[in-house]
């Protein structure tokens, strides 16, 4: 199941509805649904923020592969930004030393089971898998 979404935070509701419809059809557990929605939003908003001037819509593909779910986000008009190499986050720093931001990719890696990044000819492809309960 796949669809394309405009490069805007305003697409988030439509993105959620589309993803939820697939997860509902596949009878995915509530906790897994939360994790999948979380990762999809973080990776999509990352594409919006870091390639705001891209001219094409972002493609989301959702697939069931036995006991796991495969999710692919593709941006065919983007500069390289390797989401798998985000800097480590020290979550134990005191609040005075913490600033908003920088948690999205850290958390995405916590809630998915694998994540791959590829960039070729201006096209970014990010694929993650989630083992289902």
């Amino acid at each position: 199941m796949e669809n394309t979404f405009k490069r805007s935070f305003d697409s988030l509701e439509e993105l959620f509805t589309f993803t939820e419809s697939f997860l509902e059809t596949e009878s995915v557990d509530t906790a897994d649904r939360h994790d999948i929605h979380f990762a999809v939003e973080e990776l999509f908003t990352n594409m919006v923020k870091y390639n705001a001037d891209g001219q094409v819509d972002i493609r989301l593909t959702l697939e069931r592969d036995g006991d796991r779910l495969l999710v692919t986000l593709k941006d065919a008009d983007s500069r390289p930004f390797d989401v798998t190499k985000s800097p480590p986050v020290d979550i134990y720093r005191p609040i005075e030393e913490r600033e908003p931001g920088g948690l999205g990719l850290h958390l995405t890696k916590k809630v998915v089971d694998s994540i791959e990044y590829r960039h070729s000819d201006g096209c970014t492809t990010i694929k993650f898998s989630k083992d289902l309960r």
Binding site: F9, D10, L12, E13, F16, T30, A31, H34, D35, H37, F38, E41, E42, T45, I91, Y92, R93, P94, I95, E96, R98, E99, P100, G101, L103, G104, H106, L107, K110, V111
Partner: protein
């Protein structure tokens, strides 16, 4: 549908999905909070890292003045996000059902 406001018992409630499209509304409301306050999460279905940023920005401002937010009725999946973020060290968090 996202919503934020003051509930019947006088505590702040956050409801629906706090995603990157809703941070402006959430921040505008929380910027009006002073001192210490309780935030009821019982109707919050989802929070993204953008929503965490709103909470952190508010907590830093309130704690600098001696106050802070107490987050109650936090669902298990949001509680996991808090633990992975270290927010359980910088907020008082009460899980749903406890």
């Amino acid at each position: 549908m996202f919503d934020i406001g003051i509930g019947e018992e006088g505590s702040i409630f956050i409801a629906g999905r706090l995603d990157a499209a809703q941070t402006e509304k959430a921040q505008a409301f929380l910027d009006s909070v002073e001192g210490s306050a309780t935030v009821d999460f019982s109707r919050l279905d989802y929070i993204s890292s953008a929503g965490l940023g709103v909470l952190l920005r508010t907590q830093k401002r309130l704690m600098a003045a001696g106050g802070g937010l107490r987050l109650v009725n936090v669902s298990p999946h949001i509680n996991n996000i808090f633990r992975y973020s270290g927010f359980d060290h910088i907020f008082e968090v009460q899980a749903a059902g406890s």
